[in-house]
């Protein structure tokens, strides 16, 4: 897969695993890049699904969440499944407060996420 600035990827079993480079995802320019890089995965992924592993992510703004919503929507159109895993409790709260845990499938860890695909 091509070079990215905001994410690191690897293929594991039937999933493309995505980790975030930044610990705090707040900078508007970086968020725009992140959004583009995530969407570019859709064409490059031949696996069943994408797992976004939040290990190491301590902060995620609403603007960054909007990029995930776009990815979720586009993944569905492309027949790909999307999973989120390894969220810190505070970051997990973001998704429950905003009712986005009904939109995203959130798993405790990467293994659960891959097995659920």
């Amino acid at each position: 897969m091509s070079e990215f600035e905001c994410i690191a990827t690897e293929i594991l079993e039937k999933a493309t695993i995505v980790k975030f480079v930044d610990q705090r995802i707040t900078d508007p320019a970086r968020i725009e890049s992140l959004g583009r890089e995530l969407l570019s995965l859709l064409d490059a992924t031949s696996e069943t699904g994408i797992v976004l592993n939040f290990d190491g992510v301590s902060f995620f703004s609403s603007a960054a969440i909007n990029k995930l919503i776009k990815l979720e929507s586009e993944s569905k159109k492309n027949g790909l499944q999307l999973r989120l895993s390894n969220l810190r409790p505070e970051v997990r709260d973001l998704f429950s407060y905003t009712n986005l845990d009904s939109l995203f499938q959130i798993k405790d860890d990467q293994i659960d996420a891959i097995e659920s695909l």
Partner: protein
């Protein structure tokens, strides 16, 4: 600006630039840590400040170089307070769509405003809607 471990106050106008938001938030996080605030409360204040200041810069001032955001921030022991005022036309927060409604889940608007409300104790907007005050108590104080 004055700074002690007991009472820290910031009162200044910042340019409508995202980098300035990051600088201010960094200062606040540093002061919260100095005052012994825990991870959960610190995360909440980080979220509320990030969303409120970026809203002021982006939606209030449209990142205009001619406009500033007035910030007052106080950390006094177990109490956090901030007043964020932009130079925009304001908005009516009661008219922001509820982002948790099923029909709005995939829309971009309103999520930041909702998160601010969830992560601090008190949120007060002025009548014009271009200024808001945030208050949060340290939930771990005297625990």
């Amino acid at each position: 600006m004055e700074s002690t471990t007991q009472h820290w106050r910031y009162d200044d106008h910042i340019p409508s630039e995202p980098d300035c938001c990051a600088t201010i938030v960094g200062m606040v996080l540093e002061q919260l840590e100095k005052n012994g605030w825990g991870n959960k409360d610190t995360f909440g204040i980080h979220m509320a400040m990030e969303e409120a200041v970026m809203n002021a810069i982006d939606h209030g001032n449209n990142r205009s170089p001619d406009k500033t955001v007035h910030l007052v921030i106080e950390i006094c022991g177990d109490r956090f307070y901030s007043k964020i005022t932009d130079q925009g036309d304001g908005f009516d927060p009661s008219k922001v769509p509820d982002p948790t409604d099923e029909e709005n889940l995939e829309k971009d608007c309103g999520r930041g405003v909702m998160l601010i409300r969830n992560f601090v104790d008190v949120v007060l907007y002025n009548d014009k809607g271009n200024s808001l005050e945030l208050t949060k108590k340290n939930s771990e104080a005297n625990a």
